[in-house]
Structure formats: structure tokens, C-alpha cells
Symmetry: D2
Subunit: 338 residues, 4 copies
């Protein structure tokens, strides 16, 4: 961390700041320029809040020169993390292919879709049992009954289950029934939930990027889970909010190389939620794999016109099958195996 001082300040002021820095258990390096004096802080700065220094009237700015995260940081863990989701590996040269309906609607539906998804090449099954909805009047999901349907579908197909957790009250139930516990975009900074998931959740966590979360905030949320005891975090980019409204969100595929550079965690892409239109899913899924992602989460529905939620962004199984063929071919070029 660097403290940039205002021009023309006294020796006394500099000394006072040096004392403050040292009171944090850090060493201060003063560098005096003709116009600007700079104090470099050396030591473990993760617990220093830059605002505590910025408040000083002689400080112009405080700047980070290193990242505030440790456990997720590639610098301290150069190898790719490979996360095991009930036998399916995510990360490295493995490609997670998660498919399924937006919400669980009935046992018949989920089992039918799961079978078709598996036949197409999917290796995990997604389905929402607890649904975060903007409106209190919209369908809120089947809850526990929905989870049990997913468990039944797993029994039929062997596909591990991905489902969203919205409240810490259900962690133990998810530990029992779900294989990869999703934290949704709207809860990415629900810090109490992150801590509880870190402490009590025994399964890997799929952490979606918040609607307007920076890379650093997103990684810091992963750090919350990891620092609370659960090291198995997979990140999921699902589009960010911009001024453009023709698409539901703007899919940020630069997130793939950025996350891989900053962290050792796997990153998968959800092209269904990003665009909100089924005809965007196919080109974006292929693009994501070409860019080096570790997996795709895609909404597949056998009857999108009667889906209770997100029908317009769901692929029919035939389209999905066709897509996975091209995805496989592109994956081979960039070093990913299905």
C-alpha cells in the first residue's frame, strides 16, 4: 500500500503518518520527491483499511499495490484448483457441462430433461428449487419438494446436482441433497450467508458474480467463503448490468482470462441468464469455451413455451445436443476435454 501525501507538507506531518503506519505493525518507507512525498507500507496490509489513512488532511490518496485477497490469490497458489463435484472434476483441462431447467416444476419434467441432457453430453444437472424473484407475486420455487425431485433425477441419471441456496437455514439440507451449492448473483455480498456457507457447507460452492460486482469484489466474496473454512469455490460469470437493455445483461467473457490470472479457482459461464434470449446462448457458449472457461451452465427445457420461468432463454434438448458437438470441437483446440 502506498500513501501519496499532499504537496508542501511538513516533516512533522510525515513523521506522524510514519508513526501511524508503524502502529499497524508495518514498516514505512518514505520517498521524498520535489513535488510529492510518498510513503510505502511494507508488511501484511490485508487488515489495513485505506480509509483510516485517507482521512488525514495531509494525505492525497492511498493506493493498493497488491491484492487484498490471499486464499484465492494465484500468486500464493500458482496451480489451477481442480474441484471435485461428486466425481465430476471442474478446473484444469476438464469442462463442466451443467444443464437443466430454470426451475424444478415436476418430477416427470426434471427426469425427462435430465435424461436428454445426459444423452447430449451434460455431466451435471441444474434446477432451481428456491427461486430469487424480483416480484413477491411471482412463483418462488417448489422448495424442499423441488430438491427431492432433483435427488430422484440424480438417482435415475447419476448426474450430480447444482441448486441455489438462498438462506443459511437450509445449509444442512443442501449438504445432504445437493452436490454443488449455488450462491446467486443477488446474494454475492450477503456476507452472513457467505460466512455460514464457509463454516457449515460441506459441498463445493458455485459463486455467481453480482450484477455490478467488480472482479475484486467477486474474488473477495470467494475469499469470505474460503476464509470461513470451505476452500472449494467455483466462480460463475452470468453477465453484468450495463446501459444496454436489448440484452438482459452484458456477458463479460474477459472475466475468464482475468479470473484465471488473479486466482487459481475455476470459472464457468452461464450464457442463458446473461443474454436472456435462447438465440444468444449458442454463440456465447462457443465463445466462452474458446476463451478458456472451465464449464458452461445452460438452461435446457423440453417445453420452453410452458416453462414457469425463463422459457425464452432455454434451449430445447436437440439444440443443446448440437451445441455440445461444436463445444467439444472448440474445447479440443484450446486444450479442454469433455
Amino acid at each position: 500500500m502506498i500513501i501519496v501525501l499532499k504537496p508542501k507538507i511538513s516533516e512533522n506531518d510525515v513523521q506522524e503518518l510514519v508513526n501511524k503506519v508503524e502502529s499497524f505493525g508495518l514498516t514505512a518507507h518514505v520517498s521524498k520527491g520535489a513535488e510529492t512525498t510518498i510513503i510505502g507500507m511494507v508488511g501484511d496490509v490485508t487488515k489495513v483499511d485505506p480509509k483510516q489513512l485517507e482521512v488525514s488532511p495531509v494525505v492525497e490518496r492511498v493506493m493498493h499495490v497488491s491484492e487484498p485477497y490471499k486464499l484465492a490469490n494465484r500468486a500464493f497458489h500458482p496451480e489451477d484448483s481442480i474441484i471435485d463435484v461428486d466425481g465430476v472434476k471442474v478446473g484444469g483441462d476438464h469442462l463442466a457441462l451443467i444443464a437443466g431447467p430454470c426451475s424444478v416444476e415436476s418430477k416427470e419434467q426434471v427426469i425427462a430433461i435430465a435424461k436428454e441432457a445426459k444423452a447430449a453430453g451434460a455431466n451435471m444437472l441444474r434446477g432451481g428449487a428456491f427461486k430469487p424473484r424480483t416480484s413477491p407475486y411471482a412463483f418462488q420455487g417448489m422448495g424442499t419438494e423441488g430438491l427431492d425431485i432433483l435427488v430422484a433425477a440424480k438417482k435415475e441419471t447419476g448426474l450430480p446436482i447444482v441448486s441455489e441456496l438462498m438462506s443459511a437455514d437450509y445449509i444442512e439440507e443442501f449438504n445432504e441433497k445437493v452436490d454443488l451449492v449455488q450462491i446467486g448473483a443477488r446474494n454475492m455480498q450477503n456476507f452472513d450467508l457467505l460466512k455460514e456457507v464457509g463454516k457449515r457447507c460441506t459441498k463445493p460452492v458455485l459463486l455467481k458474480r453480482g450484477l455490478s460486482a467488480t472482479y475484486e469484489e467477486w474474488i473477495m466474496s470467494a475469499e469470505y467463503i474460503m476464509a470461513s473454512g470451505n476452500p472449494n469455490v467455483i466462480l460463475c460469470e452470468r453477465g453484468v448490468r450495463t446501459y444496454e437493455t436489448y440484452t438482459r445483461n452484458t456477458l463479460d467473457l474477459q472475466a475468464i482470462p482475468v479470473i484465471k490470472r488473479l486466482t487459481h479457482l475455476p470459472i464457468i459461464i452461464d450464457p442463458s441468464h446473461a443474454g436472456g434470449k435462447w438465440w444468444l446462448v449458442e454463440p456465447m457458449a462457443k465463445a466462452a469455451v474458446a476463451a478458456g472457461c472451465d464449464g458452461l451452465m445452460i438452461e435446457v427445457h423440453n417445453d420452453p413455451e410452458h416453462a414457469l420461468c425463463d422459457g425464452p432463454q432455454s434451449l430445447k434438448p436437440a439444440k443443446y445436443t448440437e451445441l455440445l458437438k461444436q463445444v467439444g470441437a472448440i474445447g479440443e483446440i484450446v486444450g479442454k476435454s469433455l
Copy 2:
């Protein structure tokens, strides 16, 4: 709600959509143009998800023509709601003046600030006991001990207490100790928390706008609380995320007239968190009152340089006292009394 059909579709397709609309218990009005056919849906459309119609291959677009919220809607409740916070009225021509430190740090600190804030003219005391922090390594607040300090400060000054709730586990404790329960920006779409607060919280709720929440999403979150049983919601604008990084966030004061037009709920402004710099607080506080807001929430600290959080955006009591004088004069011009 209006369904715009694709060009050149058959009578059959139109009829099928009409049937679908009627299956929702609504009436369909078909309007056939030379190029475009439109179906108007008449009835209670709050429970219809536009996506269920958009998925049809003959549908171009589905457009709302009325708002999806009811309880918060000004159209069904033309009078301003005036919320009573332990005797302090918020809304109408009343101006809530909430002041206090970002976080509760010690009994002496909070009582000293509370006394000075009251002397300056504040009518409520804020203080964070549970703190949402981006980093798991940052100070997370004093918790229950912090709430008890706030209660002690209320005993000394009589000022009602505002504090942030981060988990439903603490609702009963907040009901006992806090007068206005804040839901933070990062939890604005933590729907499980909103529902529990609606059901179990007996105190009014201060709902902060999410970092990139639209007006409609924000109002829908108020609707969640209201529909779950708690009608006493006050909205709080605290800056939204934009591309500009010189300020912490961009304060959206247009929110004041917009919220007042769309809803009957009071809206207050938090200029401290919006800009993140103390010298922005004063001009923005005055601007907010000139624009017709129902209150101001301002960070006041007697020793910002040693504050454990958000020092750079805190005003010293002398500055706050001076500010309230100008705020009072502007309030008078626009019809608000201190």
C-alpha cells in the same frame, strides 16, 4: 400488458395466444395493424410473467403498460405515507435528520457523538453494530454489544436508533433495541431477509437502494416487505454504481421526484456513502433537501481520523451544526420543517 406479435402471423397463432392469455384469467383485446398485430391483456397482470409469453415464436415482445407493484404504488394510495419512528415522523412535510458514526466503537464515543448531533438538530441516531464489509479481514462490527451501546445513547439523548440488520436471526433483538431497521444496499435483493423482515419485524424498515438497482427493482423490494406484512418502509438513496470512479458512487437525486411520483413512501438521502468524501456531503445534503427529500442520513464522527471505518466521509459535529442551519433555511423554501 401488451403482446406485440411478429409480422405476418396466422389467425391460428393469434387465437392460440388469446387462449393462453385467457388461461391466466385475463381478457385479450386484439388490435390488427397493417404490419403488426397487438394483443392487449386486461385484468390483474401482476402475477403474469412476461417471459412465459415471450417464449412463443410468434411473439416479438411483451411490454408492461402498468407497474408491477401495488401496495407501494402511488396510484392506489395517493396520499404521502408518514412513518412514525418512535415519535419522529418521516414523510409529508417532516424532515428526518439521522446522524451518527459509521460503526459503533465504544460507549463514550457514541454517547458523545449522539449528544453533539442532538444539539446540532439531529432527530435520530445511526450507528453500525453489524457491518457489511467487502473483506472478511476487515472489522465486522461490535454486534450485540454495539446495539446495547446504542440503547444506552438513546437513554441519554432520547434519539431513536437506526441500525443495519444483516441476518434474519437477529430480527427479534432488533425489534427490542432498534427503532428503524436498516436493510443495506447489498441485501436489497436478499429476498429471504425481506420476507422475514416483512413477517417478523415490528419496527419500520429503512430500505437502501442496491448498488445498481433500478427504481422498479427497489420498489419491488419494498413491495416484498409490505406484502409480507410490514407496511412501514422508508426508502434511502445512497448512490449508484457508474463508470465514474473519482467518487465512491454517483448520487442520483432524480430518485427523489421519481420515487415520490411512483410511490407514497418517504425517501431519504445518504450523501456520506454516495460520495465517500466529507467535502461532498455538505453540497449534496443541501441539494437533496432542495429537491424535496424527506430526510438525510449523515455520518458524523467526533474524531474521523481515528474512526474504525469510513472516516473520510464523516463530518465533524461543528460542520454538521453549520450544515443543518442551511438545510433548515432551504427546507423552509421547499415546504419542509425541521
Copy 3:
């Protein structure tokens, strides 16, 4: 275009609006619901400004149901446009591979880079002679001398030339020396320049997306050029401005399927400017081709450390050569030939 009226308005008000609609030479279809009355406008609405109707106190909203552009519209021109840039085809199943330095710095530099780019597989040469720079004190480009260097490089390699035009004063010089005339992101809504380019420019135009331009605004700027007489427009996505600052801009690859759906114009991607870091170029270039783009514009520099501009985002020729191999393989899978 649809006019949604406010609730409870009189027959007279409706009739007045119908008269206004008819005064524009359009037909009005009135559809009366229980709560809302809607007027559909039928005819050529491209010249109607919705604001002229919204101003009426009985109008709630005016909504487009069709696009405001005609010449660029896929609906009226279902076939892909294929643009000929001095023999190199752009669009359809052709892939434009534009490479070269950010700015022209010297004859030796440009010719050396052009030869290496050609050897790697590039089929066009880019180079800035007139540079749009945020600071008036930064290097502003070599101007005419720079164009002449590009002409010399074309003589050596045969590669058609792409360069940015910043002022209508130079259109004739560009007609003579340049093969594809670039309009930069910052001039995307410099409407006087667009009109002059439409009228006087005899070469195809490469229209970059503005920093925060919507798809519709971007297409409307193409429409300006086309309506002024030049039908040969290629669109170029180069990243949009968001709240994320780790990358220079956020590359919006959904633009590829969206632009292809809405228009018949080719779209190419500039991954170098989007991310601003060389290590983002490779994954994003592959992603763009996988998503179906019609070309890539990539900064290639033989000595990025001494480049006068944008060194950090430039690839060295060896990296570029390697990249084009993977790009070619992915292109084959999605139906594009090098």
C-alpha cells in the same frame, strides 16, 4: 409505434390524439381496455418523434414496436452484406484479419510489421496516422506523412489499408490513400462527419461502436452513413464502458449475434482496445471467432516496449502467428474460412 394512454381519459382526448396521428400521414387503431386505452400507429413511423406525442398530458408512454432504421435493417435485406475492401471480402463466410501498429511511427516500422502480419495470415493492414488522444499533450499522430507510409507498406505487401479519419477535411485524401476508412468510437455520433462520409467517401467505412452506445444508436449511426449515400459499412465492437476498471473496457461479444440478427452488415471485433492488455487479446480473439464475427482487428507491434502508443495491448508477431492458427481452426468449426 404504440401510444399508451393514461387511465380514465375522455373520448375527446382520444379523438384529439387520433387526429394528431393522422396529421403525420398515419392510420390510428384504437384499442380500449378496461383500464388502459392504446392507440396503434400504422404506416411509415421512421419520421415520427415519439417525444412529440409523449408531451401530451393524456399520454402515459409511446413505445416503438419496430426498429427506426431501414437501410441497415435485416428485415428489409435478409442476405448478409459482403463488403469488398480492395479485393478482400468482409462478411458471409469470409474472415477479415486486420493487423498493425496502433500508430504509424516510421516507414521501417510499418513495413516490417506489415510483412510479418502478412506472413502470419493477416489480409489487411491497420495503422493510425491521425490519433484521437484524451490529452492535448499526447502524440497526435504523423498525419499525411503517416498515410504515405501506409501506402508504401501496401505497395510492399499488397495489404489493403485501414486508418482512422477524424475530420471531413481529409475525406478526399483518404479516398485516395486508404481502403477502409475508420470512424472512431469517440466520433460515432459526430453526425456531421457521418453525413460527409456518407456523401463524399468512396471507400467502405469501418464504424466503431461508441463507448456507451446502445446497439440501436450504433446502427442508427450506420444508417446516417448509408442514408447519405455510402452503403458499405462494417461495424466494429471494441468494448463498452462499464463500472469495471481492471480492464480498459468490457468487450461485448453478444454484439455479434445481436448485430447479425438486427442488420445485414458485417461485424468485426477489436480485442486489443477492449481489454487494453495483450494477454486478453488471444482468448478474446478466439472467442469472437467462435461467436461468429466477420473479422478481427488486432494491434501487432514488433517492439511494443518502445511503441509510441498502446504498447501494453499489442501482440508481438510471433504471438499473432500462433493465434491465427487457432483462430483458423475455430473458424472452420463455425463456418468461416481464412
Copy 4:
């Protein structure tokens, strides 16, 4: 400017960077920490492009510690600039009140509005003769004829004229007829126009903020005009583009204190274009004055329902008269005289 080096680099690498810094005519201060080495650059860094340093493989980041602008910088010109617009002072404790129609439509219209605006208290007249329109099919303004109508209105009322310049070809005509030359938001980074206006325009310039321009970019565009020879620049905030679409743009009133801190130039606010709805104008105009702005530019139209452009955001003269009364009272509180 500070160069942050990557961890664990050699003495040689440091020395090479020091040489590079010195080759720019600057002095290098090396500060070696346990983990990070930092090089401070001392001297005139305005001409150094950080990217030329960032490209080095041993450089982590290059950070500005001082602003890249000089002529506009408050640091080098602590007094407020007061700009004289044909006798009307803008800046200091003066309040510019610019009113008039969006576009000039006829002589009768403009003269009628000008008289009413003057009677209400306006001290300048605005009117668009050359109109930047998103669509090539929309009304593009009356051009020279429009300017002549404004001149006639000035003759009748004495109000100085503000009008937008879109092409350098008209600078001499504007010098003759217009008193304050507006550069629109879409041309804020049309650098060729800025340079020509700096060189050839003899009147003060009103520089609107671009739709997604940062404060620094906006000030740099003022710097372009000033560095090219015209020191008389007034800045105008008119809303920035965000994800919120209910309002046309998000008005950023924090721009007022920020611009006043960073520069010595006056800043005025255009609440009409920001919100796009007439009922937002009044509260935002009052807020802007309370926040300390140097003027207001407001669209006033005597017949908004038949205005050729932007009717919905125009105030009728009676509303404007009423508004100026409150604006005057608020101005007095914050030290501005009408």
C-alpha cells in the same frame, strides 16, 4: 507518476527502468520494499504516456499521483474564473440563467419565448439551430436561418445567445452571431473540433459532459480548447448514462463540488436533458443551485405539445417564472445572486 514493479525483480531491471524514466527528462526515486519496489517519477509528467512504461514485463502498474491537466487545474489557478458572455458574468457569485426552446422553429416562437424568459428573470437565450439527432430522418434544425432568428431575438430582448456548434466549418459564423458556443455531449471528444474551437473561436465555449465521460476526460477536453488558445470555457453537466432507463440520463450533481475542487472553471447544470421529463426539471434545478452551481440551462417552450423536439422536457413560461423565484431564494442562502 509512480511505477510499481512486480515482485522479485533484479537490480538490472530496476536500472533499465530508471534509465527509461531519465530518458523522458525526469528524475527517478527508487523505494525498495520487502515485497514491492516502487519508482517515483519527478518532473513534468504531462507528456509521459503511462502505457509506455506499463508495457515492460517487470512493471505491475503505473499510477498517476497528479492530474494530467494544467491550464484548467485549480492547483495552478486558485481563484474562480469568471467568464464574460457579452456582459453576463458566469462564475464566482453570479448565476447564469439560460432559457429557451430546444430548437429554433420560427421567429415568432423564439421572440415570444425570449420575452417571457427575460420577464421571468433569464439572462441568456438558448436555441438549437444545428441539431444533433440520433436518427438521420429526424428534424436536423434550421441552420443559418435559425441563427438569424436568434440574432433577431437578441435584438428584441438584449439576451446573449447560446447555440450548439457541430462542425468547424461554421466557427466564423458563430463568432459573428452567437455569444456562447456550445459543444454538445456527443462531440465532447471530437478532438479536431475542440482544437479548431480553441484556435478560431473568439467567443466563450460551453462544453457539455459526454454521455459517459469521466470528470478527468471532461476536464481534458476543456484543456484541449484552452491549450489551443481559448481560455474561456464553461462546463455543463447534463446527465450521464447509467443502467437506469426510467429517466433519460442520471443527473450527477456531485459534479458541481468535484469540478469546483479540481478546476477553476464555472459549471452549469442542464436539468432538462438529464431527466427528459418536465416534472424533474424543477426539483433538480433547485438542487443544483443548492449544491453551488454557477448556472442553469433550462428548456422553456410556450407550446411544448407542438414543439418539434424535446417537448416533454420543456417548462412552460409560467412554471419557469415560479421556479426562478425559489431558485433565487436558495441562491441567496448559498451565496449566489441572480
